[in-house]
Amino acid sequence: MNILQQFGVFFSAIFSIVTNPVQMLILFGSTLLGIVFGALPGLTATLGVALLTTLTYGLPLQSAMIALMGIYVGAVYGGSYGSIMINIPGTAAAAATALEGYPMACRGEAGRALGLTTTVSAIGTFVGMLFVVVFTPLIAALALQFTSFEFFLLAFFGILISGSISCPDTVQKGWITGFLGLFLAMVGRDSLQVYPRYTLGIMELESGIEIVPVLIGAFGIPQIIQVLKDKHSTAQPNKLERVLPSWGDVGRNLKHLVRSALIGVGIGAVPGIGEDIAAWVSYGTAKKTSKHPEKFGTGFEEGIVASETANNACIGGAMIPLLSMGIPGSPPAAMLLGALLLHGVAPGPMLEIERPGFTIGISAILLLASFAMWVVGMLLAKQVVKLLRVPPALFMPVVAVLCLIGSYSLGLKVFNLYLMIPMGILTYYLTDMGYPIPPLVIGVILGTMADANLRRGLMVSQGSIAPFFTRPVALVLLLVIVLTFVTNMGFYKNLMAKLKKGKNGR
């Protein structure tokens, strides 16, 4: 497709949605639902996408994607409501926003803070969308040159990098959960010889572990346990005056906005790394590079611009590896992958060949979702803030019921629920002990691909591992894997520390 044709597809996708009242209703409804999901502490974007995946299963693909993208964009932005109004971030992605938003609200500038958040979030989503349009086809074209060896290494790299970055404790914990995910993907009959692996004689396990119930179990159940187990007091939100777009603040912070959007897209494109890390990295960078670092933490708009632009730009970033290689860039994108697979869409380098214009269509939805988010944010902020008074004890058990019925309804298998609960309890304990969950999920998703491609590649090369070193892309990936591994090792860190010390001593 040439660039003019792409523009044609883009605008026709927008036109078809805008002129369809049902789809517009879905767009605004799901975005509002996402904002509510993000605003309520305990509910996350991932959980929102998970629950809506089950409800949109019966819808046509485009309508389902509108609903899922709407809730994703809305929820990432909605997290800022709790941060600004009650100093409790609705989602982890909005935690950095609380540092600046809440002091602003305490000064009586809640409306200005929310207006700024709404505007920069919409711009962040828009920038992310631009990157999806430009980079997805390029990366997909590159991935078309990949052979089985590259796909195996890519899966391995995904687990390794996700484990390295998302781990709150020692890096080995991130990697081991990635391998645990890979192991879970091995359960069932293997794709080449149809040999049953780790099925323990249970018939239902022969077809393998289904991804969506695992994802709901891994992200939903621990959240429900955590929120109900911890005591939560409902805070009284600050007073909210009129919410205005704050164009002046946006103009003054244009430099920070562009940098934060780039950070958000970049971090989003790394497999398994979510919006929370994007927001923190961007906030940290803004503080480091600011002319007034002392103002950070006192209600400084630069901080809000940094975190809110980055977390929403991360959405587009996360869509790039998902659409071009089938590797989700963030936990909600992992849920989106599950939803796409349910609708018979296999994201990856073949996507544009099998479904021409799909990526452009997703970009159009992203653009409309960011617009819907801005409109809903400007008009309904006061109403959403009222919801912050609802205690989690009232809605978390309802979410648990939705998780269960949603998981069951996908395959009409009660066995999915039998798996989901232990999965949820396991991930709850793993999280509590500093083991990150994104690598586990990436492992489950990419396990089958890694297994099949490794064996297929070795079959072609008659058991020779030489292609790992002779194929340029494979060699680059291998070197990156080795580099990621070595730079996270204790001896390397000690060596670097010694070198730094020696340099400073001289």
């Binding site: 409800l55 299963y57 019966g58 709150p168 404790d169 020692t170 080995q172 990697w175 081991i176 391998f179 645990l180 890979l182 192991f183 091995m186 293997d190 080449l192 010889q193 149809v194 040999y195 692996r197 780790y198 159940i221 429900i224 346990i225 109900l228 187990k229 005591k231 205690p391 004890a393 009232l394 809605f395 978390m396 058990p397 309802v398 648990a400 019921v401 939705l402 269960l404 019925i405 069951y408 309804s409 009409l412 009660v414 629920l417 039998y418 609960i421 999280t431 509590d432 002990m433 500093g434 083991y435 396990g447 890694a450 297994d451 490794l454 064996r455 070795l458 079959m459 058991g463 204790g490």
Partner: protein, 252 residues
Amino acid sequence: MMDKAKLRGADLITSAIFFLLGIWIVAEAFTMPLKDSYAGVDSVWYVSPALMPLIIGAAMLLLSVAIFVHAAKNGGLESLKEIWKNRTKDGLLNDSNIRYGCVLVPLIAMVYLNLTRIDFFLAIVLYLGFTITVFYLDNPTIMRKGLYLYTAEMSLILVLAIFGLDKALMGLFEYSLDIIAAAMIIVITVFLRIQIKETGNPEYPKKFRAAMWMTYLTPLFIVPIFRYMLRVPLPREGAIVNLMSLFYYSIR
């Protein structure tokens, strides 16, 4: 995440579990066809279904050793001793564990016992009625007493399931388990109401009413959405869902 002092002790335990898992993965992989023939096809090592599990198992063994060594070097053993020493200090049934039990017992009971035996509507009410009320009231005494009663009720269903009496009862009358579930809902509701009265807290009756509204409104929305809009056959359609279906199809 738990604090660093406790974390290193816990790391020793988790790394040992991962190590054992790694051994099991590798041991199982060696039972898979490696170079021999499977289903009439001669296999070679690189097409073997054991190849990836061997890599995973080996990686898990190495990483678990690394986590163990890191934990041991950073005071893991002392932390573990401390955890072991403190294990009986608060007792098993302390408030924190009761709270945890209030999250897990109803959830596990709903999935493994109720969903396939009791009418879906009633199973949700049984779960929500208890969970929302105890967490919304957030009173340790009510939570504790409520959990004991709920566990007793679920034990009854468990006993019925173990001895196959559930099927026998349903053979006698299709909705007999639904009647038992409805009775359980009434018992737990009345019990919680009495407990609320005893505390004398003026806020509690209001909260209880809100909890009950949520309890009954949720299945009133969920059941029609999944059963009639998304056309999902529910895990068990008993007395209430069948009544709803009767009503739905008669007005349709």
